[in-house]
């Protein structure tokens, strides 16, 4: 039991319920039990295996995951631009939006392609893609590409569209916008092209902006500027944003709410503070630990052993179990449900079951978080999420979150108790 941890616990426990005071949040998008598979030459791949996620108005939701986690597929499903060999097997995506002055909620998965294109794509939900070098049509001028959406969706007269396009270019920080309108994409640098893509996305005043790894292909200094730009725009327009990335640093900067995906499912979701300062899923621990830390003097980088699973085959139990050093017997038998930690924080790991051994995150990670904590001002420290550290007294242990799924079979309960595999008990 080290000194610093004690300080942290006491502080956080004392301000316990501060996190509950959230603003009234209005849900505009909810993904329910989504299941998607792809037909490939090697067989059927289950890319999304039961996903639940919500987005609230004016917030930025970051979806984090490695390649193969299914994050890009999710947003393509929202937009209705899945490739032809993709099939929606189950689930719904409910989107709340303004139509003809009234608010309506619809299941986007039930819309035909024509309806999606006329009502949603570009108009109410817009997308920014990853590679600015290939996202723009090489044979159309910048101006034409920005104005196209407005003219198409709102029949905006050309002159007005032209003026609006210039204003958009100014908004996204492009100098000399009049001249740029006549340029072609190949005459612009990568960073500028991505700004144009953002301008195109904003051209029809959408309610939701989806960014699929928009800065991955850019230099880190350009990335910083684009991230600031997106945050700026969000402040100005109140637009809701879904941000897909594998870079946790970027998440920390832009996101209000985070969903961590692994092998086609959300394994942990919560506010950004909860995910970064009090993560609960071993995969999240792994991701955070594997991030190189500019401040540490460590010589060796932590790595998550192994590689993501091949979703061609049916997954038995928890898909993360083979790489999880905290895996228990039950992880091999049954997939963990989402356990509730706070109203906003959920994680799908058997470690949160009341009968599971009490395990804390890896020591290096805990130390790193404590260091960050120490460097914050007092005011900031109070916004940290309450720690639900397992080394609390008995009374506190009883305050542990109840599992949403209490019906474990006998065999499962045994497996949970036996803890034969891995399992490092602190």
């Amino acid at each position: 039991m080290n000194y610093e941890r004690i300080i942290h616990i006491i502080f956080c426990a004392a301000i316990g319920s501060r996190m509950e005071l959230q603003m009234e949040r209005k849900q505009i998008l909810s993904i329910n039990d989504l299941s998607i598979s792809f037909q490939t030459s090697a067989g059927v791949v289950n890319v999304i295996r039961g996903m639940n996620l919500s987005l609230y108005k004016g917030e930025t939701l970051a979806i984090v995951g490695e390649s193969g986690s299914g994050k890009s597929v999710t947003v393509k499903a929202i937009m209705g631009i899945l490739s032809n060999n993709g099939k929606i097997n189950n689930g719904s995506i409910h989107f709340t939006y303004q139509k003809d002055g009234k608010e309506t909620q619809q299941d986007l998965l039930k819309f035909t392609k024509t309806v999606m294109r006329r009502q949603i794509n570009g108009k109410r939900i817009a997308m920014v893609f990853q590679d600015p070098m290939t996202s723009l049509n090489p044979t159309m001028t910048i101006g034409a590409q920005i104005m196209e959406g407005m003219i198409y969706h709102y029949k905006t007269p050309k002159r007005e569209a032209f003026q609006k396009a210039i204003k958009l270019l100014e908004l996204v920080g492009i100098t000399d916008p009049e001249k740029r309108m006549k340029n072609y994409p190949h005459q612009l640098s990568g960073g500028m092209r991505q700004r144009v893509v953002i301008a195109i996305a904003l051209s029809c005043d959408p309610e939701l902006l989806i960014c699929d790894e928009p800065t991955t292909a850019l230099d880190v200094t350009i990335q910083a500027k684009i991230l600031e730009l997106i945050k700026d725009i969000q402040k100005k327009t109140g637009i809701s944003v879904i941000y897909i990335t594998h870079d946790l640093g970027v998440v920390a900067k832009v996101a209000d709410y985070v969903a961590v995906m692994y092998a086609g499912k959300v394994v942990e979701k919560g506010t950004t503070n909860e995910i970064f300062y009090e993560p609960r899923h071993p995969y999240t621990w792994g991701l955070l630990s594997a991030m190189p830390d500019l401040n540490s003097t460590d010589d060796k980088l932590y790595t998550i052993p192994g590689s993501p699973p091949n979703l061609l085959h049916q997954v038995e139990g928890d898909s993360f179990a083979p790489r999880n050093i905290y895996a228990m017997n039950i992880d091999l038998r049954k997939e963990p449900p989402m356990f509730k930690i706070t109203d906003t924080h959920y994680a799908a790991t058997w470690l949160l079951h009341e009968k599971a051994p009490k395990i804390d995150m890896p020591l290096e990670l805990r130390n790193r978080i404590n260091m960050m904590y120490k460097e914050l001002s007092e005011g900031d420290q109070e916004t940290m999420p309450p720690a639900l550290n397992k080394e609390l007294s008995e009374g506190d242990q009883e305050a542990m979150p109840p599992a949403l799924n209490k019906e474990l079979s006998e065999g499962d309960q045994e497996a949970l108790a036996s803890n034969k595999i891995g399992g490092i008990i602190v």
Partner: protein
């Protein structure tokens, strides 16, 4: 853009001069002379030579040659129709070949593009397979096979179209030859269009355009086609020349009095002047069409006309 066009024109002119040089040298180096009639003695031969300027030094003869060719004076035919100026022969025949070739290209390209686009959109379905079969047939079967089939079925059996070309029913009687000619074009264009469209349709900017909510029609014709067209035009250029200059076989089959059949006759009867003249015409057309294609590139693909380092960067 202007610099680009000027460069292309200069290159075309140089190419033309080189071709003329080659043709000229070919004529020079060919054994024998047109005036080897044994009945003539030396003095008479010398007079004839002077008349035709054959006694001047080679350099001067070359310049005269260029002058003549470029002004349309191709000389006279020797064997096909003695002493007829070649220009007269061409005057009646060239328009016919051009017209039938033009028809074939137009129809062939339109059908080819359509088939190619359908095959690309309905990738891996029955439409795709049908297009592929048509393409393979069109490319592998010689044009005369098509011609024969058409002549037999539609000309002979069904009597829908006349068997031979008739001057008094130019369009009606050119249907069969046009269709036979254009099969190769249809096949080639369809195949290329399909490949290019598939590649373009799978690109990132198409996905972005789709996410903007643009409808299918505009996606294909406004976004995809413009990008797919560039390689298609490359393929189209030599096809156009081939068709314009009159497929030799088709012209013979349908008795079309075009320049293709003229060339065949000239070769068969060793009429050098006609052969050279036609070669020059073909080269001129080829260079001209390539020039047009290059300019079209510049119009369609901004990356070519606004290369890096130019202003606007």
């Amino acid at each position: 853009m202007k610099k680009y066009i000027i460069k292309r024109i200069i290159i075309s002119v140089i190419t033309l001069v080189v071709i003329l040089l080659v043709l000229f040298l070919m004529l020079e180096l060919m054994p024998g002379s047109p005036f080897n009639d044994e009945k003539l003695n030396e003095a008479q031969k010398a007079v004839i030579r002077a008349k035709y300027g054959l006694d001047k030094p080679i350099f001067v003869r070359f310049l005269n040659y260029i002058k003549a060719m470029l002004s349309g004076d191709f000389g006279v035919s020797y064997t096909i129709s003695k002493n007829t100026p070649i220009t007269t022969l061409l005057q009646s025949r060239l328009p016919i070949s051009l017209r039938i070739g033009g028809q074939a290209i137009l129809i062939g390209t339109m059908i080819g593009l359509t088939l190619g686009i359908i095959a690309a959109i309905k990738h891996n379905t029955i439409y795709d397979t049908i297009t592929t079969v048509i393409s393979v047939l069109g490319v592998s079967l010689p044009s005369y096979v098509f011609a024969m089939t058409l002549i037999y079925s539609m000309g002979f059996k069904l009597k829908w179209f006349p068997l031979l070309y008739q001057m008094d029913a130019p369009i009606y009687s050119s249907v069969l030859p046009t269709v036979s000619l254009c099969m190769f074009t249809v096949a080639t264009v369809a195949r290329f269009t399909r490949t290019e469209m598939l590649e373009v349709l799978g690109s990132d900017y198409m996905l972005l355009a789709e996410s903007k909510g643009i409808n299918s029609f505009h996606l294909i014709f406004k976004h995809a086609l413009r990008n797919a067209l560039i390689p298609i035009i490359t393929v189209l250029a030599p096809l156009v020349v081939g068709l314009m200059t009159g497929s030799l076989v088709i012209e013979k089959l349908f008795s079309i009095p075009g320049i293709g059949s003229l060339l065949v006759s000239a070769i068969q009867s060793n009429d050098y002047n006609v052969v050279v003249a036609l070669t020059f015409i073909y080269s001129l057309m080829y260079i001209g069409i390539m020039l047009v294609v290059d300019i079209l590139y510049g119009v369609i693909d901004p990356r070519i006309r606004l290369a890096k380092g130019d202003k606007n960067e």
